[in-house]
């Protein structure tokens, strides 16, 4: 059974404070298994450690302890093992304005991973780029292939970033706040694309976000992180509709909900009247 598993992941950072130094445990004993065709949402406020988990999975940070297993085997630190891991596990970053090189065309951004990971070369490159663009719905592909980042909207850029992540043949995507920089009207389009890839191509997606509503609608399972710990986990609907942990309730109460319009005003008025 193919899977991406993290087991008892811990990350500590040294914090210098003047002459003293202390240890900050950013991630404390996090374990979960990502399977093909499933989406896990990792939610929490800033500083809860969710991005540190993403960085460890994408090998941008080394865990202090704990393991990352791909298909049951530990991931190599360097060489072949690490290379193989990178074919399979790729990242989509938050800011599509910063993660694409403004000097290069879309084709360049996609050809590089195809070549580096040995997926295609020479005459096969152009058709492979086309296929990738079609998979992320940037059609007609030859028009988009020739564009540079500034000629595209944020949503289109993020689609290029997703295509780039798919280029090495990735089976698992780590998407760290992939839509938070985008305008609301195009967020759903990008999320729907991820959902389609997940379903039709059996992609495993780790969706990192602080937006509980999209976490609920676009994932099978939700993990709630607070100060490095996973404080609650379960099927999305259970976590959102029937939260057990106090912190999950705080998060839920803080999320805007259109149907509660005017409620905040009433609450504030009642508080002021009482004091």
């Amino acid at each position: 059974m193919s899977s991406l598993e993290v087991r008892n992941l811990v990350k500590e950072f040294k914090v210098r404070n003047g002459m003293r130094s202390s240890v900050l445990r950013a991630v404390n004993d996090v374990s979960f298994t990502l399977e093909p065709g499933r989406t896990i949402a990792l939610v929490g406020e800033s500083g809860s450690g969710k991005s540190t988990v993403a960085k460890m999975i994408s090998q941008l940070e080394t865990p202090t302890s704990g393991e990352i297993l791909l298909d049951g085997a530990p991931v190599g630190r360097r060489g072949r093992g690490l290379e193989g891991y990178r074919h399979q596990v790729q990242m989509v970053f938050q800011d599509p304005f910063a993660s694409l090189n403004p000097y290069h065309t879309v084709a360049h951004h996609l050809e590089r991973p195809l070549r580096i990971h040995g997926v295609a070369s020479g005459d096969r490159l152009a058709p492979a780029v086309h296929e990738l663009l079609e998979r992320v719905n940037l059609v007609p592909a030859d028009v988009y292939a020739a564009k540079r980042p500034h000629e595209m909207s944020g949503g289109q850029r993020q689609r290029v970033a997703i295509a780039r992540a798919l280029a090495p043949g990735a089976r698992f995507l780590v998407a760290d706040e992939p839509v938070s920089m985008l305008d609301v009207s195009i967020r759903l389009g990008v999320l729907n694309l991820l959902a389609r890839l997940q379903r039709e191509e059996q992609l495993g997606v780790l969706y990192i976000t602080h937006d509980l509503a999209t976490a609920r609608h676009f994932s099978d399972e939700i993990l709630v992180m607070y100060r490095g710990d996973i404080v609650e986990r379960g099927p999305s609907d259970d976590v959102i509709l029937n939260p057990q942990h106090e912190y999950t309730r705080t998060l839920l109460a803080a999320a805007p909900e259109p149907s509660r319009h005017g409620r905040l005003r009433e609450e504030v008025r009642a508080e002021l009247a009482a004091s």
Partner: protein, 307 residues
């Protein structure tokens, strides 16, 4: 707004009834703002808007729709190549006099800005000066606009302002990098409140903050509004948030206000297709799973606009 040549924003009879008894504090009539580039870009097109005393008016729309440009126009903050092509902006002072905002120059403009209408800027996380303390930055506002204030009075007022926004006055000697994002935002709000303005324009004041901190700050803004009765123009693309806090919402698209109504009406009976599209862009937290969910529809790029 009856004299508009183009069709005005959609709104309901509920809205007309809602505003009937209210006292205006800022009125914009037929405001058009252009960026003098080649070719010229008309960023705000014939916008008429009335802000009432003590109300929260939400200004919704996506990036590039002209909402920040309009706010800058109301506050006379436009910089070339942006230019106010036509229209008038009138401020109705609490003392009964009307101020023609567009006609202000030099000292009178300086006396008007921040004193009557202040602003919390977009990216307020990075709007504080990194090399001077909070005390100096708050003091700066007071020395400029209240020169008669003594040093001790200034210090007392600065401490009072921080307390108002829920920041410990011991933070007066802190620098921006020593404060969390939420605290920096609170200091920015304190600064905007320093002169007891009658209108505060807030441009995406909570967008960079996470939900829990965001909620705390919104609550603070609502509380201060109840106490000091200033009017707020709240600019954001986050429509669910606006629905929760605003009295009225103006939906802006491509430089024009396409719909203007009470929050209740926008939520329950949005008339403009674009407003409905915006409303449909947010999955409900606890409601039913909408049809858009995981459909993977092939038209998922169709609605995206060119940059």
């Amino acid at each position: 707004m009856t004299a508009t040549t183009t069709t005005g924003p959609l709104s309901s009879s509920t809205h007309d009834a809602h505003v009937a008894g209210l006292e205006p504090v800022l009125t914009a009539r037929h405001v058009s703002i252009e960026y003098e580039v080649d070719p010229p870009v008309l960023a705000v097109e014939d916008v008429s808007l009335t802000l009432h005393r003590g109300e929260i008016l939400g200004l919704a729309g996506e990036s590039g729709c002209g909402k920040t440009t309009l706010a800058y126009g109301l506050n006379r903050l436009l910089k070339p190549p942006a230019i106010l092509r036509s229209g008038e902006v009138t401020f109705h002072d609490a003392n009964g006099t009307d101020i023609d905002v567009v006609g202000l120059t030099g000292d009178s403009l300086r006396a008007f800005r921040w004193d009557r209408v202040s602003m919390v800027f977009q990216g307020a996380m990075n709007s504080l000066n990194p090399v001077i303390s909070v005390r100096k930055q708050l003091g700066d506002v007071l020395t400029t606009h209240r020169p008669q204030m003594g040093k001790q009075e200034r210090a007392a007022r600065s401490a009072e302002l921080l307390e108002l926004v829920g920041v410990d006055p011991s933070r007066l000697d802190s620098f921006a990098h020593e404060l969390s994002g939420g605290m920096r935002q609170r200091v920015m709000i304190a600064m905007a409140m320093a002169l007891n303005p009658q209108v505060m324009i807030m441009d995406e004041p909570t967008t960079a903050l996470d939900v829990v901190v965001q909620r705390g700050i919104l609550r603070e803004i609502m509380r201060l509004r109840e106490r000091f009765n200033f009017a707020v123009v709240f600019i954001t693309h986050d429509l669910p948030l606006l629905l929760e806090i605003s009295d009225r919402i103006a939906v802006m698209r491509a430089g024009q206000i396409v719909e203007l109504d009470t929050s209740e009406s926008i939520y329950a009976r949005a008339q403009h297709p674009y407003t409905r599209q915006l409303l449909a862009s947010f999955p409900s937290l606890t409601g039913d799973r909408g049809s858009f969910v995981r459909t993977g529809v092939s038209q998922d790029v169709a609605e995206e606009e060119a940059p």
